[in-house]
Symmetry: C3
Subunit: 160 residues, 3 copies
């Protein structure tokens, strides 16, 4: 049965601007009483990786990917005008001026509002991301079946 109070987000992107939009929607919904599920896949997983995640155990191709796409909430590029990080740095400064929380703070707020953060096991396999390299806020690692079950109960599911 579909639940009028459940929202599910697939977070495919690892870009700062899209992640901000996702967390503004997620925390807004959770604050108003909805159960919110965020299912992180592909580049979105980089947000959930510890900033000090190493590359041990990766094959050279996975190493190369992790060299170019840095882990952690502090190092997300923006989808437009990133200009080697300058655009992202500027957006973060603007957010600070507007007294907006950082991505890292938004993750904590989401957790405190019981947003369910799930890391996609298939993508972890492809990108060589281990369970240990994820931040402790991630409680669930699951595949597409888990996402489908959530979306089936949700009034809205977005792919971001």
């Amino acid at each position: 049965m579909q639940n009028k109070e459940m929202l599910t987000l697939v977070i495919f992107s690892g870009d700062l601007d899209k992640l901000l939009a996702a967390f503004i929607i997620a925390t807004g919904a959770a604050a108003s009483g909805m159960q919110v599920n965020m299912f992180f896949t592909f580049w979105g997983l980089k947000l959930l990786q510890r900033a000090d995640a190493g590359t041990k155990g990766l094959n050279w191709m996975q190493k190369l990917f992790s060299l170019f796409v840095k882990p952690g909430s502090e190092r997300r590029p923006i989808s437009k005008l990133n200009m080697f990080g300058m655009g992202a740095a500027m957006m973060k400064k603007i957010m600070k001026k507007s007294k907006m929380p950082t991505l890292g703070e938004m993750i904590l707020t989401a957790k405190s509002l019981n947003v369910k953060l799930t890391a996609c096991s298939t993508s972890m396999n492809i990108l060589g991301i281990s369970r240990e390299s994820l931040i402790p806020e991630v409680e669930h690692v699951a595949g597409v079946a888990s996402f489908l079950a959530d979306s089936q109960q949700s009034h809205t599911t977005l792919f971001i």
Copy 2:
């Protein structure tokens, strides 16, 4: 209650090709009798800005953003192969040849079909977009709560 006749679109992208897809879906749905809500956020807001919107009152970071991402329906880049505007110009020529309406015309069509155009207040704050710089077709400025209320009533909500 979910309404079989309501469609909500979050327009995050400011790219010509994605905006075309969004307006084709929106006007198609509205023409067939659905109530359609378009919620413009981040780069999507640039579509709703007047082409002559100045940069008065912006801090230097917001000015820099508005320098690179031009306002108005005529100056949208495309998501692939933009090549400093050449790709976008070509796509517009192809559309003209195919006798398709321009983005500007699609906004007017959407309005005439009672599509609700809402500008996201949080993004306006971040990007330094004032109410006065928006085109008159935008009647609503609202935050995430308004979007969530719409999506809860919609049979389909898309993030574009």
Copy 3:
């Protein structure tokens, strides 16, 4: 009426990584018994084009587009770090190592699970893609009305 067992995906992107995510969701859903509709539009259509599709009958602008965005499942770029195809080649190698199916194999799996593959007629017109240049797995060519009818019956619709 909305159907708890129907899923609809709009495939706007032609990028390898997004297409993989789309087909993992689509085949996962179809394998668990859902009716799945994939509606391919804009760059997503390039996946459904035969690799040997020529440029006969195209105007020069459409030719230029098809020169830069190659047709077929083997030549999809990735959305990040494509680096003239190097990134895409690496991702395909990683997938092979992880014993994941290729995009071409995923299309066949989707077909065998009765996923409905529809090519968007409006986009075909814009990009100059003829019915004959599509792979035989595509059975349907339709416009936005067909997509809207599907999404109205689906518990989840994603724009990818």
